[in-house]
């Protein structure tokens, strides 16, 4: 359902993403991990058509984002890393606006908005202007907007940042439920525990290159050092700071 082939993005001499290829199947929840500046957001922006790849292709539901952008965008739901929404609209108006952009009919829109508001606990604030929302409420609004047109592929960039524990749990349950209904979910996260518990497969990106991909169990099995947690595998692959260096820094 989501296919990336040799995806590359260069800025002058700097390769933000190089030769990234992977496939995410229908019904699969894929976790996209990597340290800060590894190329996660750049990859997501290329998937959603916000950035043009230097090389390579992105196919969403069989539609190429470059040659058939309308078809690809129609089946995609996006939650960006920082939910910058129209401050002078209410949450309800924003979600309605997105539904109209995706040509969802009026009746279905209103029903979905009601369901999503109830699900994410936003009904009480739905008619307040977004400028009065907290970060978490904006994140929930962005999630509602991404789901209102019932997309086949949902791409989320750090979706649980800023959410309270209850809302984070609801969001995770929603994503799992979407996969159970055959949707494809591609999610970047910093929280390894979430990836470990929720994702069917994970991909780890470092300095623009995909350094590992597979189910958690496969990654553990393939690790020669016998690491047991995803955190250990992640740090080994992405070169996390050694404990001694940290102690040295604190002592200094």
């Amino acid at each position: 359902m989501l296919s990336l082939k040799n995806l590359t993005k260069n800025y002058d001499d700097f390769a933000a993403v190089s030769n990234l290829s992977l496939e995410v199947r229908p019904g699969e929840l894929f976790g996209f991990l990597g340290p800060n500046g590894a190329g996660k957001t750049t990859t997501i922006k290329m998937i959603s058509g916000l950035l043009r790849p230097t090389e390579g292709t992105v196919e969403i539901g069989g539609h190429d984002i470059l040659t058939d952008p309308l078809g690809a965008k129609a089946v995609l739901g996006l939650v960006p890393d920082s939910p910058v929404l129209y401050k002078k609209l209410s949450g309800r108006e924003f979600v309605r606006f997105v539904a109209e952009l995706y040509s969802v009919d009026k009746q279905t829109t209103e029903k979905r908005i009601k369901d999503l508001l109830d699900l994410l606990g936003m009904a009480e604030n739905a008619d307040d202007l977004i400028e009065t929302y907290s970060h978490g409420m904006r994140q929930k609004t962005a999630i509602m907007a991404a789901l209102v047109h019932d997309p086949g592929v949902v791409v989320l960039d750090e979706p649980t940042v800023g959410l309270d524990p209850r809302s984070a749990r609801v969001a995770k349950d929603v994503l799992r439920a979407l996969c159970d209904r055959g949707k494809t979910v591609f999610m970047s996260t910093h929280i390894l525990e979430i990836a470990e518990r929720m994702c069917d497969r994970v991909g780890i990106i470092n300095k623009g290159e995909l350094v590992a991909v597979g189910a958690i169990a496969e990654l553990r099995a393939g690790d020669e050092g016998g690491k047991t947690s995803l955190e250990d595998i992640f740090l080994e692959l992405t070169g996390g700071p050694e404990q001694e260096e940290i102690i040295k820094f604190l002592d200094s």
Binding site: K45, S48, G49, L50, L51, R52, P69, L70, G71, K73, A74, L76, L78, P80, V84, L85, Y86, K88, L89, S90, R92, E93, F97, V98, E100, L101, Y102, S103, A126, D127, D128, L129, E131, T132, A145
Partner: protein, 552 residues
């Protein structure tokens, strides 16, 4: 940290924003600055030539030059109230660096001083760029002594601090009761209302230069005008500034002492009140400023905006409706548009009161409705693109073709300004200011101008939108604003030539032949040309949008 270090950091950030960019952009910016400097020089040379020509008029030239300077300052005062008062709230309460400064071990009084200077610099930039060339030209033409220039450098900031202090005081008082973002909106409204009141007051109070029944010679009229200016208008800070600088220019420094003292005293008193207010509301802890306030609920169901856009396809309606809401709900966006519209609607009646409705008014009014349709549509088209700001990603991601997205942005100004232009025309007709011939022309000139203006605005918006703007003044880049100024200059120069031609032949002879065959053919050709121009500009904008990458 000292105030000096704080200012140095601010300046460093300012220069970094301009010069620490990619090489290609840097070259472009340096070339733009060089171009601007040349323009600035030409402006000084032009005003100097203008004042030199006035000096040659004897008698009365000197008096006339003084009046031009005074009128410039009155206009700057109006401009400051309309545009700059709300800026103070942005700087005092909503700047992104405020939490950092307030959390740091820096004396709050220094933060206040820094913010005051920042408000003064930001709010005064446009005024200084207008005032300095005019004053330099005035000084050069009349061979002013050196202390005229010293006075200019000292008194201009003193004068411009007055609206900043008033905005600061009002901001602190209002911020005690409502959210900071609402303060910005309330001050935007207050500033616009004050500016409008000043302008209408100026139009009503100012004496007439044309009163042939009373005084026949030009000098006499000027003297009567200058004497008439001694009423309520002489109380304005702009009058004191003009008096002080005129006296300094005329090597009569003693005559300048009075107005200088009044200006300084007004500025100091207002600054003192703003410090006292700030001490009570801000320096005592900015957390005392109400952070939340009453939440604003909006209509739950379909709004009148949706009903008014019933004719548009779904995606276009969504984009147009959202853009309209963003404008309507932000007084900072609405106030300049409303102010200009009210000025253009009121101006004919004020002018008619002086001159009578005969002859003179028709071409001026045609310029008013055509100008409103063009300038209003261009402004709304340009800002209608940039108003999405960092939320524009949502439209970019939508499965809607580039041309449909742009068509929505293009159609909104046209939908707003054609009815306004037509309504204004009917109001003029109803008031007996214009003939049916005028109406027959306005019926097709208004849509033509609106269509061209909107498409020009959309293309400027697409190429020069500053997507991460924080205050409306920064929605369009400096280059974009220069392009817009160039387009406006071209429009008004072209219209002035056209109006000159109409006036020389007599308005009714040109505007005659109501609804005759040639007029209809002309109207049809005019509309077709306007549509063709719009198509070319929208295609240009589409090219830009289809290549756009969202790096924000």
């Amino acid at each position: 940290m000292s105030l000096y270090r704080l200012i140095a950091y601010k300046l460093k950030i300012f220069f970094s924003r301009i010069f620490r960019v990619k090489e290609r952009k840097l070259v472009f910016r340096i070339a733009s600055i060089a171009g601007l400097s040349v323009l600035f020089g030409l402006f000084i040379a032009g005003t100097s030539g203008f004042f030199a020509a006035l000096r040659l008029i004897t008698p009365g030239g000197e008096l006339l030059a003084g009046l031009v300077v005074a009128i410039t300052f009155h206009a700057l005062l109006v401009l400051a109230f309309v545009l700059d008062i709300a800026t103070t709230t942005n700087i005092f309460f909503l700047s992104s660096d405020l939490p950092l400064l307030m959390a740091a071990p820096i004396q709050t009084s220094r933060v206040f001083a820094l913010k005051y200077l920042e408000a003064l610099a930001t709010g005064s930039l446009v005024s200084i760029f207008i005032a300095i060339p005019i004053l330099l030209g005035y000084g050069i033409a009349f061979r002013a002594p050196f202390y005229f220039y010293v006075g200019m450098i000292v008194l201009l900031p003193v004068f411009l601090s007055i609206p900043v202090s008033i905005g600061t005081i009002a901001g602190f008082v209002i911020a005690r009761f409502v959210r900071a973002s609402r303060v910005k909106e309330i001050l935007g409204l207050l500033g616009g209302a004050m500016g409008l009141a000043f302008w209408i007051g100026f139009q009503v109070m100012r004496p007439s230069l044309e009163d042939p029944g009373q005084i026949s010679d030009f000098t006499g009229r000027l003297q009567a005008y200058a004497a008439g200016s001694g009423g309520a208008m002489s109380l304005l800070p702009s009058s004191h500034l003009a008096s002080a600088l005129s006296a300094l220019r005329a090597t009569r420094p003693l005559a300048a002492v009075g107005p200088v003292l009044i200006l300084l005293a007004t500025s100091l008193v207002l600054f003192g009140i703003s410090v006292v207010t700030a001490r009570r509301m801000y320096l005592a802890g900015w957390a005392r400023v109400v952070p939340g306030g009453k939440k604003r609920k909006v209509r739950r169901g379909r709004s009148p905006i949706d009903a008014a856009l019933f004719w548009a396809p779904k995606a276009e309606r969504a984009i147009m409706g959202t853009t309209a809401r963003l404008f309507i709900r932000d007084p900072q966006q609405m106030m300049p548009v409303a102010t200009i519209s009210i000025m253009m609607a009121v101006f004919p009646f004020l002018t008619a009161r002086r001159h009578g409705a005969e002859g003179f008014l028709s071409p001026v009014l045609l310029l008013a409705v055509a100008g409103l349709a063009f300038v209003g549509s261009m402004n709304l088209g340009m800002n209608g693109v940039a108003i999405d700001g960092s939320s524009f990603w949502r439209i970019l991601c939508a499965p809607v073709t580039v041309k449909r997205k742009l068509a929505a942005k293009f159609m909104l100004p046209v939908t707003v300004f054609i009815p306004i232009g037509w309504a204004l025309t009917l109001v003029f007709k109803g008031a007996g200011l214009v003939s049916w011939a005028f109406v027959s022309y306005a019926v097709w000139i208004v849509p033509g101008m609106s269509v061209v203006g909107s498409s020009v605005g959309v293309v400027i918006g697409m190429y020069f939108a500053n997507w991460d703007w924080d205050i409306p003044k920064r929605m369009i880049t400096v280059t974009g604003r220069l392009v817009m100024a160039g387009v406006l200059g071209g429009f008004f120069a072209g219209t002035a030539i056209l109006m000159g031609a109409i006036s020389s032949r007599g308005p009714e002879s040109v505007l005659g032949g109501v609804m005759s065959g040639p007029l209809l053919v002309g109207a049809a050709i005019g509309i077709l040309i306007a549509l063709l121009v719009a198509y070319i500009f929208i295609t240009l904008a589409a090219r830009r949008l289809s290549r756009m990458e969202w790096k924000n």
